[in-house]
Amino acid sequence: MKEFNIVLAGVGGQGTILAAEILGVAAVKDGLNTRVSEIHGMAQRGGAVTSSVRIGENVASPTVLEGQADVLIGFEPLETLRNLKFVSERTFVIMSDERIPPTELAAKNIAYPSIERILEKIRKFTDSVIAVETERLAKEAGSILTKNIVLLGVLAASGKLPVKDESLVEALKELVPAKHVETNVNAFKLGYEYVKKKT
């Protein structure tokens, strides 16, 4: 394997950092070299955030080159669009359909674009895209705070990740608080099955 690049994009507070950390820990469990990058601090406060996970023997830079993502996980539709610069025709895009309107839209009284229009724009870059009902699945898992883990389940089910499913679940169990392990494992499974059902 040369390298595998994942870009995680969302809004501060959506749990992109935790999802990226889980991927990184799982990679190390499988004896793989990895770099996980994240942005903390002021940029986080409700702003657009991008994390990345790179896996591969010669990976040195923590950030992904334009057009070189193997997977883009968009935690929010508009943020998925904002990160299309990392996407090429070989990228798999996983997008949550949960919309978080930027305050600019409210201030200018502009409607949030429809998911269909957003998917159209993504398809100009790649045909490989899936919209995930994260909110419904997270609620079903037992907590709306597990939307990020639902998305990890979807990624695992895609079969593209060079990391074992078991390692991911193990990493997940280590990184979430003990009392929330069950809910999170549920969320992971629901995300996993969601893809299997769709494909």
Binding site: V11, G12, A20, E21, G24, V25, A27, V28, N33, T34, R35, V36, S37, E38, I39, H40, G41, M42, A43, Q44, R45, G46, G47, A48, N58, A60, S61, P62, T63, L65, E66, G67, Q68, L78, E79, L81, R82, L84, K85, S88, I100, P101, P102, T103, E104, L105, A106, A107, N109, I110, A111, Y112, K121, K124, F125, I144
Partner: protein, 622 residues
Amino acid sequence: MLLKNESGKQMLLLGNEAIVRGILEAGISMVTTYPGTPASEIGDTTSEIASKAGLYMEYSTNEMVAVEVAAGAANVGVRALTAMKHVGLNVAADALMTLAYIGVRGGYVIVTADDPECYSSQNEQDNRYYALLSSLPCMEPSDPQEAKDMIKTAVDISEKLELPVLLRTTTRVNHTRGPVTMGKLAKPSLRGTLVRDVKRMVMIPAHARLMHVRLLEKVEKAREISENSPYNTVKRKGKSQIGIVSSSSAYNYAVEAVELLRLDASVLKLGLTNPLPEKLIGQFLKANKKVIIIEELEPYLEVQIKAIAKDHTPTVEIYGKTAKQYFPRKGELTTRLVAEGLAQITGQKLPLDFRKIDEAYAEVAKDLPARPPILCAGCPHRASFFVIKRACGDKANYPTDIGCYALGIAPPLSVGDLLICMGSGVSTAQGMSRATGEPTIAIIGDSTFFHAALPGLVNAVYNNAKITLAVLDNSTTAMTGHQPHPGTGVTGMGTPSEKISIEKVAEGCGVKFVKSVNPFEIKEATAVLKEALQHNGPSVVILRSPCTLLTVRDRRRKGITVKAFRITDKCTDCMTCIKLLGCPALIIENGKVHIDETLCTACGLCASVCPYKTIEGEEAST
């Protein structure tokens, strides 16, 4: 996790966590810090484990105090470390420059975290120049593994030379996770003994002259260490006549760009960058025809390497960012920027058509709404800015300060006219008020108040400046991750301490008008601010309400759920709430205002500004 003695085991660590592991492996016994992105997790992780690990840590009131506390310990033989963001070293610079003369007895490392691209900072200064300015050794890790390992090396060098050592990181080192192989844990020892030596330790002019000579001698010893350091190494490649010199995070982009372009190039990686290994660099210059320097921010290496070239091999061609700019001098580098620069210098072709990607992306990006960081839903600062604006109006001037409340500049709140550095608000307000004669309200947060506002406040009293200082007290250091401070009653060791009252401090400084009020009590808060503006002399108004993130976390822990506010049918769509507050929980769907249930914290601010009283709900107290 960090406390386990699992020598040889590999773990995924954040750069800042790796530094903490380095602290534990190096036997450092005292850690001092003032939180600042991207260095914050060094202090926070240390704080979590300090008592278990048997070391002392403190959140000092500011970076200068942090350096001085640690310098006291290091001068009685205890190993110490101070961590701060790059601009923190400006605050500590006075101590740093003379501490370099005095030196240390126990190993002392100062971690300075630069922030290329200003992700969370007011500037992107290159702190390697502090190493040159102070003559102190400087190390630059490129990844978490090196960050950990270099702490131990830095302590060794520090004790050998009896000098503090700077460890200069960048955001992409502090906030990158990577596999780190653990070393052995060492036992901290906080027991020091003062060996009196006034000539060395008390810097009066006669002693300083002597110690400056000693410092210059130490620099030459440090250069020898640099010549032989395993962190300064050459990876030669074939018969290439192209050489690349790089350090820190830039090195990662350099090696990937070389790979991308399939360039045949030797690479000199520098990890100990002050003093530079002149001989090693001289040999490298001689061995190559073209030498390309790849570094983030300033041409720190480049300018010095050009000077070395003049002595060793004046004919070598040197490329970088002086003379012609192949790489930008601002912002952070990326593999792409480095590859584009290298392609230009070497004539090698880029294998990726970035322009095509840019064009496709520009088409998408052109109508994307921006999503800058904003004050959270329920943030008490929103209420504070609303009442400040209501009481003082558009004509007043609002110098502001460093903290979440700097986000108050965003419309519709639009409060914040001048921001330089920590504590600048209260002092710039005095100049502004005197020069305009207009009402001037300085904004500051609680942690920043203790960090840097006191001399400014005393100045306002002493010189009778007519300003109002609005202290937005949310009982924490919110922006950097909720660290305690002198007003919170908790220390970095987790022990209780005296809560220092902002009111009493202000009164003690001689301020005659000091009042505190809850900003969500709109009428009362507005009245207090109006009264403060009428006061003839400096006044202080404390707008006190805890950070909403803490409140929400606390509710979650206690299992308390609060009901979001609702917009009733009587809503006239006048949009007043949106126009006045810009709260992210207020959204528009099909031309109607809605409240996002998951974001709303039931602060009730929107209900109190609605002119037709059509927003309903129960205000949650905690």
